[in-house]
Symmetry: C2
Subunit: 396 residues, 2 copies
């Protein structure tokens, strides 16, 4: 379970140093890290404990402090490079109480360690899923010396360009995805229950393939079928797959918390002419975009090419064409930084990784295709591997 | 995927009425519901969209309003009883922007619908996992007419006593759990990878058993083995299960979002005398507690009996002995209301449901046993079903 072996101690030091450079640029005396992916990135910490208050305190210099529930602090010794005295566990008696909160305890701990001795500008993650409003307000009240400042996904931005060790993990994640997709496509058949397809995909995601061991993905397999074929984010049910229908699968392989999402659409029988038309246009646009993503430029050219292909067929897509990926924890595998969309100002650079996804949800049907990609020195490496066209299976 | 069929329209009306009674008691003019389990409970809404801002606005009287990302608002029509005009979707252009936020849009929408025409006391869920600090601060700034007040898990408390329709779903969830546990116990063998055991358990959780269809559980299967045998919440890896070791499994079956967690410990070969002693004491204490949970009383007597059995053997347990369960979404299947622990003042009542869990994490090994239970008119119904003792498998 320890992932410390994946990265050198130097790599963790570089990550921390990069974080501190950004902290200095933002005028922060310290940073509170609460996003589990950011915690993992900076310390190696990895456990399903994020549903309880926990954070990493990063001062501009000096020792880090990881604060979590006492029963989980023990696990931190298994998975982080932090010395024991830099992990503090709050007592069980603070869990789910109306009158007292773990952040009351944490504030005292921080004060005793000298982190409230003067006025400080402290960054926090305003959109982190597991930093609750109550945690925020409790720290604000208990540490009036702190000026709490939105860090604007500071650590997420540090994560944007991957190291070569990270790229190896992304490639392994993509191998897991590609295999899970092959298993899902094979499993899809009219008359089978969605839940049985999900069972096979999840087993493939957990088991991995060859040397690429599986891990739990941040999101369960999505299966757009039946009444939900035109709607993203509905999860599988036990309804039967209907022969003749088209089904979109969206899933990720995960490998040691790195994610490579992948989406495909399968027609169980002859696709309607409408679906064929949308699929052909979407694929043309997708490949036009893929051609134009390259280092040294923003994603603008790729998005314009995509829009132009769609416009010629009278189609449009409101949602973005992709987003940065890497480490993921439930409920989301996106990195929350760069989007592949019009107006994105980030200049692409080698070893940025994205999920490029073209999801067209029409009325009553949908078509989805995606790849996990890496920006190279000259263009794009497609990490995932599956036939890209609308997959047509003979009706069972 | 629609779960509206599980409950009558009247049941949804009763849930809303109960919520409004508590709102009146708390002096609230309106309530913002953001916990996905609470959203599901009040409206039937069910999709993996909770990683983006979304909420249900419940005024003291008048129409509800569900606000979510436009691409997900469509799914709401599939899964809720709300009429279309009570579901509002914010535009895609607001996703992951530094300068503007979906709650800016939501505030305007609420204002236009007349929900900021006067001073109002509005409850919010201070510990809900997916109500971000930025969402909170944006609403606070945009709606100065609102006094935002911590609702103290108001809807969670409404969920505490289950209806007979809910109990049926809990029984089905328990059937899924019991089967997944049997699959897990059977799969555990020295030399197999943890990830392969997880694959089999997850497949059983998804597929369900007989009429009890599976659903995705809020938490992945936990497997306390090897270096992590003494540490809760570490997730599975591809490390091999070691013959002779003891492994604790903690998992839940889910059925139409209802959860019934279950934990067991399996010794692969002759257990150490230390493990045998801890297991015997834990089981004695667990059964003593089970005997004393009954309606009309707080959990105090049960906790005292448990503590007394442990104390006789020189053992103690800092963490609570259980918690209320029902609907669950990642990352947690607890209801965040009643805990089975000393000092809990809630009087137990028929059709409350709990996960009673005795986890003893010693140094280098652990023992865990649990059941999902229902409080009956006279005592306890154990919903889950698996041999309760330390399970000893011949070494493979």
């Amino acid at each position: 379970m320890s992932q410390l072996a994946d990265f050198s101690r130097e790599e963790f030091e570089v990550r921390l140093a990069n974080t501190r450079v950004r902290m200095q640029d933002a005028g922060l005396d310290a940073l509170l890290v609460t996003d589990p992916a950011n915690l993992h990135y900076l310390t190696g910490y990895n456990a399903w404990s994020f549903y309880m208050p926990q954070f990493l305190f990063v001062p501009a210099d000096g020792d880090l402090l990881l604060v979590m529930r006492a029963m989980d602090a023990h696990g931190a010794h298994h998975t982080t490079w932090l010395p024991r005295e830099q992990v503090a566990g709050y007592p069980e008696s603070l869990v789910h109480r109306a009158e007292v909160h773990p952040m009351d305890w944490a504030a005292t701990e921080l004060r005793e360690r000298g982190h409230a001795a003067r006025r400080m500008r402290v960054g926090y993650e305003s959109e982190a899923h597991f930093f609750s409003v109550r945690s925020f307000l409790t720290l604000q009240r208990r540490l009036p010396e702190w000026e709490l400042v939105d860090s604007q996904e500071l650590v997420n931005w540090v994560r944007l360009v991957k190291s070569s060790a990270e790229i190896s993990l992304m490639r392994a994640a993509a191998a897991v995805s590609s295999n899970a997709m092959a298993v899902g496509i094979e499993a899809l058949r009219g008359g089978r229950r969605q839940s049985d397809i999900a069972a096979e995909i999840q087993a493939a995601q957990a088991a991995g393939i060859g040397d690429a061991e599986g891990d739990y993905p941040s999101i369960v397999p999505m299966m757009l079928a039946g009444e939900g074929a035109d709607t993203p984010h509905l999860t599988w049910s036990s309804a039967q797959i209907v022969a003749g229908e088209a089904v979109s699968l969206e899933l990720a392989g995960a490998h040691r918390r790195y994610h490579a999402p992948l989406a495909r659409t399968v027609s169980l029988g002859q696709p309607s002419s409408e679906l064929q038309r949308v699929a052909a246009t979407t694929l043309d646009g997708f490949e036009a975009a893929l051609e134009l993503l390259r280092p040294g430029q923003t994603p603008e050219a790729a998005v314009e090419a995509w829009d132009a292909v769609l416009a010629k067929q009278g189609l449009t897509k409101a949602s973005r064409l992709g987003y940065s990926i890497g480490i993921g924890y439930p409920p989301d595998w996106g990195e929350h930084t760069v989007s592949i969309r019009s107006g994105e100002e980030t200049v692409l650079a080698p070893n940025m990784t994205f999920h490029l996804i073209a999801g067209m949800w029409m009325t009553g049907f949908g078509f989805e295709v995606s790849e996990s990609i890496r920006i190279t020195e000259t263009g794009v490496e497609v990490l995932t591997s599956a036939p890209r066209e609308l997959i047509v299976k003979a009706d069972a």
